[in-house]
């Protein structure tokens, strides 16, 4: 479990493979696809967020995508769209945006269809050739 303290400001892309708690400020993109991200009561995020599970006690501005669950606790705030099969919003939490709670089965089907479509090369193109617009994995960039 990693903790980003109150006084830390990160601008850029944050990715990793450990559970993370943020009490500071992050702007940019957070990518913890296999792990739990907790935005603490002092945390302020202006970012696109991708994680397995997201718990919000602080403020998030930006879209949140979780493969398992998004949990906005009392006094937590999300201003952006949420995509997750499970979403819990506590009484007293703030939320503005849309929620996409596609069922897990539907998501899998869609992913499979997307993978099939990606595997079928357009005429004159080799399979597995990287697409220009596909995001490439990037490391953590701290500070700016």
């Amino acid at each position: 479990m990693v903790n980003i303290g109150k006084s830390v400001v990160i601008k850029g892309e944050l990715s990793g493979s450990e559970d993370l708690t943020i009490e500071g400020h992050v702007e940019g993109r957070i990518d913890l696809k296999g792990n739990v991200l907790t935005i603490g009561p002092n945390g302020k995020i202006k970012a696109e967020v991708f994680a397995k599970s997201v718990v919000v006690l602080g403020e998030v501005t930006g879209n949140v995508t979780a493969s398992e669950k998004v949990d906005i606790r009392d006094n937590g705030s999300v201003d952006g769209d949420i995509a997750s099969p499970r979403v819990a919003i506590a009484e007293g939490a703030h939320f503005r945006g849309s929620v996409d709670m596609q069922r897990a089965g539907q998501q899998k089907n869609q992913q499979q269809q997307q993978q099939k479509a990606a595997a079928t090369p357009p005429q004159g193109q080799q399979p597995n050739q990287p697409q220009q617009n596909q995001p490439q994995p990037q490391g953590q960039r701290v500070g700016a």
């Binding site: 099969p85 499970r86 979403v87 919003i89 009484e91 939320f95 503005r96 929620v99 709670m101």
Partner: protein, 227 residues
């Protein structure tokens, strides 16, 4: 028209007595607060059933954000849910003294493309609007619905003068809790059945229930174009 007439025969499908909430006794005030009474609903489960065949339907909720409702509709429908709190819009216009601008505001209020929304939870927001604003909102919502899309509306038949809104908290497909909170204005004149139908003239009434809570629950559906 014949279908509308037939559906109105259900209008006085009055339900049984108010349902008490969970039997667990309230040990203290905070617990008692949570254990509010639940009221039956006849239209909600029909609304849900009408959307269950759709793949990842888009649902528009015109009430305030209620976390448990988000969870409920997500689990029931696997839907995309957009909350557009109309009560906040009304409050803002009351505060700014611009209620006369509400019809124009509602005509441009929604960003969704016409014919893309599968279901609309209108709740009772139309009760708080004067006729021109209610008509503008009704027309805007009718335009948003896709063919075969469904709208759930509540209309009070009681004469309320208290300035309160009601949050409808879903207990299950057959029951709602009514949770009130302060409003900037009371409900306007109760709408008659014919007035309500005129607000959604592009939609067809499929079900209408007058509940013992003095709430008229109505389900509307947008007719599919004839092939």
């Amino acid at each position: 028209m014949a279908e509308t007439t037939r559906s109105l025969t259900d209008l006085f499908g009055i339900l049984g007595s108010r349902r008490d909430s969970d039997a667990a006794p309230a040990a203290d005030a905070s617990v008692a607060n949570v254990a509010e009474a639940a009221y039956p609903t006849k239209a909600l489960h029909k609304f849900i059933a009408s959307l269950q065949g759709a793949d990842n339907p888009l649902l528009l909720d015109l009430g305030p954000v209620v976390g448990s409702n988000v969870t409920f509709f997500g689990e029931q429908l696997g839907c995309r849910l957009r909350v557009e709190d109309i009560a906040k819009d009304i409050d803002r216009h009351v505060k700014d003294g611009t209620l006369d601008q509400l019809p124009e505001f509602f005509a441009k209020r929604f960003t969704q493309a016409p014919g893309t929304v599968d279901g609309i939870l209108c709740w009772d927001v139309l009760d708080y609007l004067e006729r021109p604003a209610a008509q503008a909102l009704g027309t805007a919502l009718s335009r948003l619905l896709r063919p075969d899309g469904c709208l759930l509306g509540f209309f009070s038949t009681a004469d309320h003068r208290e300035a309160i809104y009601t949050k409808y908290v879903v207990v299950d497909g057959n029951a709602l809790r009514y949770r009130t909170y302060p409003a900037s204005r009371p409900r306007q004149r109760s709408l008659l059945n014919g007035d309500i139908i005129k607000l959604f003239k592009d939609l067809r009434v499929t079900d209408s229930f007058l509940m013992k809570s003095k709430l008229r629950e109505m389900l509307f559906r947008k007719p599919a174009p004839r092939t």
